[in-house]
Symmetry: none
């Protein structure tokens, strides 16, 4: 995996994991790789993964059992609201951004269709 140098690596990893959960690549209750393992796979500093899991735990997206590892939450509700939350953020970015550039609602839909 390649990282965009302008965005903190740990945020990029968090985003990827969230996406994997949303699309079902990571399932509810599933065990995540260990800190060291994931650090090795992604070739990043273990501290960075540590921070990733810590943040995901804080958002209740994962939970960590001492000495057992980190697991995807079992609350399906959290997962489905995660999808909503992420898409809302993306949509908001889009609408606000286009608005600031002077696009009306109609124009932005048309421009989007054109692009696709």
């Amino acid at each position: 995996m390649e990282f965009n140098n302008n965005i903190p690596i740990y945020l990029q990893i968090i985003d990827n994991i969230k996406q994997d959960i949303v699309v079902g690549k990571l399932k509810a209750g599933q065990k995540m790789p260990s800190v060291r393992e994931l650090a090795g796979t992604l070739k990043v500093n273990p501290n960075t993964i540590q921070r990733v899991y810590q943040e995901l735990d804080r958002e209740k997206i994962t939970y960590t059992k001492r000495g057992m590892g980190t697991y995807v939450t079992e609350e399906e509700k959290t997962i489905s609201s995660l999808k909503e939350e992420l898409s809302k953020k993306i949509i908001l970015n889009f609408v606000e951004g286009m608005n600031k550039l002077g696009f009306s609602n109609k124009e932005m839909i048309n421009t989007l269709k054109e692009y696709l």
Copy 2:
């Protein structure tokens, strides 16, 4: 003006100026406020504005005449391509982001319409 704490101030100012140019609030050839003046208005350090103008100059969006001040480019072409570039970036963010969340093209347009 208020600044988002997570994004460097100078980048936010750059973005704002670009938007002002794109929507015509700042016109081609128009004189920009002086470094010190804008710094005073926005209540930031002159160095920060210096950096803003320097970056805009580098992108040919403005040009600076020694001892005279900084001006919006007179190339209408640069301005229109700026609008394209900015909107492209926003659209790309949207499409890629939604894609990664598992939205098909149709779904993302529908979700967008729903939101508006």
Copy 3:
């Protein structure tokens, strides 16, 4: 190191680093000194070095890994084209300058040989 007072220090440092890379004193992929370290060595403000590295990064001559440091590019191509670019600039200065003084091509080569 001593600085020419008429040229910005950061430009002089940039030039020196480029020369060190071109002549192989700094090798591809090699770690550069940290901002603070180089600032200490050259007895300039860390901000000045910051600017140096930023500019070199922008020209793809170095790259910076967050929290890790700044490194000479690993692209040998970039380095060799850097040498070309720098020498081209010097030659152009010479030829154009001598031309403007009324030297023919033959004359300028002879005058140069004489000098050496």
Copy 4:
């Protein structure tokens, strides 16, 4: 005439005048255009031309008679040594620059010949 934005305009004008003198476009004793006239022709601030003449006067390349205007020096010696001085400077730049890039004397002559 177009000015390079990175070099002070007054220096560029000085250089041009010196070149004109060296190649004989401006002759010994000849009257230079008035400050206002030259400023008009070059579309620069009269202050800038003022400084140009002041500097040329200081280098004894021109002399100014109060209320009469500015004239090219009548000392042919000054003019011929001007040519030497300017070409020396150009040659020195070339040789030192190429040296720093690791070119030997032979190499720099060959590269130069190749270019021409």
